[in-house]
């Protein structure tokens, strides 16, 4: 279905990324690239190192070796992500969600999204205290932008609720809204459909496709729901024990013996 798309050049390029936790090699020379406008899925059994991979790219972990490069689609200047702090990575245009929802539970839904706008704002301490015209305008702009983002994601009815009071599916969507508010060109989704019912998952599918079309972003996603992965992604990477074992279109992955082995195990008498 998605094969008809014509993708641009690479926006994210990861070269032989390794991550050691003491003696444990969580990632082993992983290569990965995401092209402009592409939806790429990263799958693998539990503990394969998918979330570690996300944590490395977003600056939460410092990888042991390897290189992470971004080629932002508009400015085009290539930048290295190695050694950047998480907030700097987000400023460069990578936004993520978390596997176990990490919202700001005691803030309202709107404020959660406003936090996402934080790195695109400039008011400092004097601005906060004296509240000059520029700061007021910026604040109003952020409130309006954030509300518009909620409408786009479809959870504007909860705008003044506390985030912790939201139903589960809406919390997942709020995380996406908050990430989108940072103006990314790549959205990293860590199991966005975990714990959702089939209907919610289908609506999430639609949302992700719509975001790609409307916002011209690329999406890298970790997911266990194979139906969703197969229908959504243009390209799939499969990792197991930190190593890449396969790469290709959904059709190729379905037939790949290495993948089947990793997921279902090997027959003893072959």
């Amino acid at each position: 279905m998605a094969a008809a798309h014509n993708f641009g050049k690479d926006v994210l390029e990861v070269r032989s990324l390794s991550m050691d936790f003491g003696g444990l090699r969580a990632l082993d020379k992983l290569d990965l690239s995401v092209r402009q406008g592409e939806i790429v899925a990263l799958i693998g059994p539990n503990g394969a190192g998918k979330t570690t991979f996300f944590n490395c790219i977003t600056g939460l972990h410092a990888p042991t070796e390897g290189e992470m490069l971004i080629h932002p689609p508009n400015q085009g200047k290539t930048q290295r992500l190695n050694g950047l702090k998480p907030n700097r990575v987000t400023e460069r245009g990578l936004a993520r969600t978390f596997q176990n929802i990490r919202l700001f539970p005691n803030m309202t839904v709107l404020e959660n999204v406003m936090i996402g706008r934080h790195c695109r704002m400039s008011a400092g301490i004097p601005g906060a205290i004296f509240r000059p015209r520029s700061t007021r305008e910026e604040e109003n702009q952020v409130v309006d932008d954030s509300y518009a983002m909620l409408e786009k994601i479809g959870i504007e009815q909860f705008v003044n609720e506390l985030a912790m009071n939201l139903p589960y599916g809406a919390q997942r969507r709020l995380e996406i809204a908050r990430a989108m508010a940072t103006d990314p060109f790549i959205l990293l989704l860590d199991e966005p459909a975990a714990g959702m019912n089939p209907q919610e998952t289908r609506r999430l599918d639609e949302l992700i496709l719509r975001l790609r079309e409307q916002e011209k972003i690329s999406i890298l996603l970790i997911e266990h729901d194979m139906k969703m992965v197969m229908s959504l992604s243009d390209r799939i990477y499969v990792v197991d024990y930190g190593k890449k074992i396969a790469e290709g279109s959904p059709e190729e992955i379905k037939r790949n013996p290495a993948v089947i082995k990793a997921y279902l195990g090997e027959e003893i008498d072959a």
Partner: protein, 409 residues
């Protein structure tokens, strides 16, 4: 039967208490006549009293739980009466006007003693509002807050002693030094959170106090610094009573200034970043907030108010020594914030008034003062864990289709 069960439990409690207090409340040995007095009446009083209190306790707990259930059924933010009143603009406005009139006439109506303890309370309001930034908003448990208070007080005392700097010069200097020490403490504790942070800040507070106590050449040691001048009033000589009233009004001005600034900070980009940092540090960073700067700014801005309050304290008492800056002061300021309601400005003001003024008025039963103080805190945390006034998140107005709730002020 529920009632029977509760009666039984309360009876057990009262028997337990009678047994517990038996040796001290009932038996009295008269050492002169070598007789033993049995005061059975006391036992009855203890039994009856504890039975009554136990019933009351159970009743209150039940009421609280019922309230909680109701809130769940109604599904939504359950606001208390005070919070609803605070959202009504007319009520808030008239409340502010009343408070302002009261504050204006207070020193002329009440005695100098009353004015003086009110000044102390206002100093704590200022400290409380400053600490509220660090604890209430940014969620960093700072137990060494009094160190910044000491920095402010000593900066005025020493600068005046050596260079004759006036109160009005010392006020901004104290604030600046508070800010600086806030950053200084902020750096080593950037990686810490929760209990670890509390312990390090506790240590920092003690370091400052011990330095002041032992570095005689610098701070005059435990004997402190005396004869610190009170604030001047445009060059006029004021009597003690007049100067107290003058200090009172300076304090009112400073508190209003604090409320203004803290209120604005709270509802700004930085304020939101602080709250986000409190809620989830990792998500906060992943959303593009610079953790280092946000934490440092919380520490520094919180410490600024303590620095100013310290200058004020030195000017009010005219004598300072390290004994005024013990860990106990930090604990009181912490109690002010927690009791008042973390993150809520009105709450912190009320908290300071209750905690500072109550012990003053309870001097009559000075022996039981700390007992009452403790009891108030325990009851408070059981029945209103969010503080006297729980902070309500602000609702914004936006160019949208429909506002979801009644934020149409």
């Amino acid at each position: 039967m529920r009632v029977a069960e509760e009666l039984k439990k309360s009876a057990l409690v009262s028997i337990w208490f009678m047994f517990l207090t038996f040796p001290i409340m009932v038996i009295r040995v008269n050492t002169i006549y070598n007789t033993v007095e049995w005061r059975w009446l006391n036992m009855a009083l203890v039994g009856g009293g504890s039975f009554f209190l136990s019933m009351l306790w159970r009743f209150m707990i039940r009421r609280k739980e019922r309230g909680k259930k109701k809130a769940e059924i109604k599904d939504g933010v359950q606001l208390t009466l005070i919070q609803r009143l605070m959202q009504n603009r007319r009520v808030t406005l008239s409340g502010i006007v009343l408070a302002a009139i009261f504050a204006m006439i207070y020193p002329f109506v009440f005695s100098m003693y009353q004015t003086s303890i009110m000044i102390t309370a206002l100093i704590y309001v200022m400290c409380g509002l400053g600490l509220n930034i660090v604890i209430g908003l940014a969620g960093l448990l700072d137990l060494g807050y009094v160190a910044f208070y000491a920095v402010g007080a000593y900066s005025y005392a020493l600068l005046n002693y050596h260079f004759g700097i006036s109160f009005w010069m010392a006020l901004p200097v104290g604030a600046a030094l508070g800010f600086m020490f806030g950053v200084l403490l902020g750096f080593p504790v950037l990686r810490l959170r929760g209990d670890y942070l509390a312990i390090v800040t506790l240590g920092f507070g003690e370091i400052i106090r011990l330095v002041l106590e032992n570095w005689n050449e610098f701070s005059h040691g435990p004997s402190g610094i005396a004869n610190i001048p009170r604030p001047s009033f445009f060059g006029y000589d004021l009597s003690l009573q007049q100067v107290t009233i003058w200090i009172y009004f300076i304090m009112i001005g400073l508190v209003i200034f604090t409320i203004f600034v803290v209120g604005r900070l709270q509802n700004s980009r930085l304020g939101r970043a602080w709250v986000a940092l409190r809620e989830d540090e990792i998500a906060c960073q992943a959303m593009g907030i610079d953790k280092t700067r946000t934490k440092l700014s919380a520490f520094a801005l919180g410490a600024t108010w303590a620095g100013m309050a310290g200058v004020m304290f030195a000017a009010k008492t005219t004598f300072i020594n390290p004994a005024s800056f013990t860990i106990w002061e930090s604990v009181i300021i912490l109690c002010v914030v927690v009791l008042g309601g973390m993150g809520s400005i009105v709450g912190v003001i009320l908290g300071a008034m209750v905690l500072i003024l109550l012990p003053e008025y309870l001097r009559a039963f000075s022996e039981y003062r700390m007992l009452l103080f403790g009891a108030v805190l325990v009851l408070m945390m059981v029945f209103r864990p969010g503080g006297i006034i729980t902070n309500v998140r602000r609702t914004y107005r936006f160019k949208g289709k429909a506002t979801t709730d009644g934020s149409s002020a």
